[in-house]
């Protein structure tokens, strides 16, 4: 075991993993974190906490993860390279371990232009691949990036993102290989709507044997309305939504129900693709829908490991 996290145990025991995600509040309420987490607690193996998602300031991922730990939840702390330099990141990783956080997802982060502080300076001292490498060195060699020795263990299950829908497509598998080389233990992908493209990507992943070197969890975003579908299709770079799904969302009288139907169908199709080891449901600001989806997808109860 690299970290002993619940997520790592579920995956190593061969279960089809379910992770979900919460966005901390734009404020100070620990109750908000607890209430949101309550919705998700019993239907996932680990819970991601976003790190100033879309460059909008929120309660820190570290603090919200600490609250989840108090609730007995296995958090996946997201960390973007946009807001911190190598000193701050290493220091937060030490703090995270001290608070019982065992999973960390390494991300670059959306550009600050999209957030509520567009005039901010970004950091990008290191990039997400270098962050993975840094954590691996901290964990496996007990060394900081400076090669100074760390006191105590750094048991972290290292996560990375992959986007099969961004360009250049042929490079996306090579980039995954690069992330594995850097230290990624598990992957959470961008939300999958376009099954043929995702299946093609997975085929390329299998051709290189990468599915045996890293646990791949396919991302899923339940759609709440046709407006949301259209917005994501048009404005979110690196997200592909087939017209057919947008039309289904437009042509229904109960968009939320149709969104859930689509989510469940996607899970079923994703599960049929060899090499996929789990699903990562991102329903930020619609967390209450997740238990129903997981139940309908027959992924309940979650294994106790």
């Amino acid at each position: 075991m690299k970290s002993g996290s619940n997520l790592e145990k579920v995956l190593t025991e061969g279960h089809f993993a379910v992770t979900s995600e919460m966005g901390p509040p734009k404020g100070t309420s620990a109750d908000f974190v607890r209430k949101t987490a309550e919705h998700l607690k019993h239907c996932c193996d680990a819970m991601n906490v976003t790190d100033n998602q879309t460059a909008i300031v929120r309660m820190s991922s570290l603090a919200a993860c600490a609250i989840l730990r108090q609730m007995g939840i296995d958090p996946v702390m997201q960390m973007v390279t946009r807001d911190r330099n190598r000193l701050a990141m290493q220091s937060d990783i030490l703090g995270a371990v001290a608070l019982g956080i065992r999973n960390l997802l390494c991300l670059t982060g959306d550009h600050q232009k999209f957030g509520n502080h567009p005039t901010a300076k970004n950091v990008h001292d290191i990039d997400s691949i270098q962050l993975e490498q840094m954590i691996k060195t901290m964990r496996d060699d007990g060394l900081f990036m400076s090669e100074d020795k760390i006191s105590g263990d750094v048991p972290i299950f290292i996560g990375a993102a992959a986007n099969p829908f961004a360009d250049p497509f042929e490079f996306r598998v090579l980039r995954l290989a690069k992330k594995i080389k850097a230290g990624a233990d598990f992957i959470q992908t961008q939300a999958v709507f376009d099954i043929p493209r995702f299946a093609k990507w997975m085929e390329m992943v299998r051709d290189q044997g990468l599915h045996e070197q890293v646990y791949i969890l396919a991302g899923l975003i339940p759609m709440k309305s046709v407006g949301m579908a259209r917005y994501m299709k048009k404005y979110v770079a690196g997200l592909m939504i087939p017209d057919e799904l947008v039309e289904r969302m437009a042509g229904t009288s109960d968009a939320k129900e149709e969104g859930v139907n689509i989510a469940c169908e996607l899970i079923e199709q994703i599960r049929d693709i060899p090499g996929v080891r789990g699903i990562h449901i991102m329903a930020v600001a619609w967390e209450e829908i997740v238990p129903g989806i997981v139940e309908r997808a027959q992924l309940l109860p979650r294994p106790i490991v």
């Binding site: 999209f114 970004n122 691949i129 270098q130 993102a161 360009d167 250049p168 490079f171 770079a237």
Partner: protein, 223 residues
């Protein structure tokens, strides 16, 4: 070249508000080439300011001058008297020119009429784009001659990120994804294996992060 852009006239009017005798001072090098602060632009700005301040009922004098390079003291020395005769030097050079005047003539009051925008090149007529961040540790040999520090919005050393689509950067459909360019060039040259190597964390100490930089060339020192 160093590329600059003139500040809005309203802002420049505020800069000259408390002054009577103003020398609009151009530079004959980079900002001339990018049509921002050469002799011609000095003439246009000085006339605009004469008209604008006349309308506002202010009796200000705007004189014009352009030196070959504002960033070298020897060129500034040729206009020492003119500088001393004016109570404000409105510099149309880059930030280096402004500071060169201040250092050579400690009593001179200097204000910048342009914003120094970046180190770049003219891509098309009327379009300049950034190419270099002067980071002090060039990696262009590893990135097919395309700079990820200056041209990737996140200065990624191991790109492209998930925001690259159709060759464009997530920040703006007008901005090319630097890593797509790097990928295309390496692929065309049969050197894609280069992109599989993990580029190590950058040493930023050679960049601005190491503090103000200086360069000493012993072979050129006189003493």
């Amino acid at each position: 070249m160093i590329v600059g852009e003139q500040k809005p006239l309203e802002e420049i009017k505020e800069l000259v508000a408390d002054h009577e005798r103003i020398l609009v001072l151009g530079c004959g090098t980079c900002v001339t080439v990018c049509f921002t602060g050469g002799e011609k632009e000095v003439g246009i700005l000085a006339s605009s300011l004469r008209m604008a301040t006349k309308i506002d009922g202010q009796g200000k004098v705007f004189d014009e001058q352009t030196v070959q390079r504002q960033c070298e003291w020897e060129f500034l020395d040729t206009i020492e008297e003119e500088i001393k005769e004016h109570d404000l030097i409105l510099s149309m050079a880059c930030g280096i020119g402004v500071q060169a005047i201040v250092e050579r003539f400690p009593r001179a009051r200097v204000a910048p009429a342009i914003n120094t925008t970046f180190l770049g090149l003219p891509e098309e007529h009327g379009l300049w784009t950034e190419r270099c961040a002067a980071c002090g540790e060039c990696v262009l040999h590893r990135t097919a001659g395309v700079c990820p520090i200056a041209r990737c919005a996140k200065s990624l050393m191991n790109g492209p990120c998930g925001g690259s689509q159709d060759g464009k950067c997530e920040i703006d459909p007008e901005v090319q994804c630097a890593w797509q360019l790097i990928y295309d060039r390496l692929k065309a040259q049969g050197r894609l294996d280069q992109m599989l190597e993990i580029m190590p964390a950058k040493d930023w100490s050679t960049s601005r992060d190491g503090g103000p930089r200086r360069l000493v060339r012993q072979d050129l020192r006189i003493d």
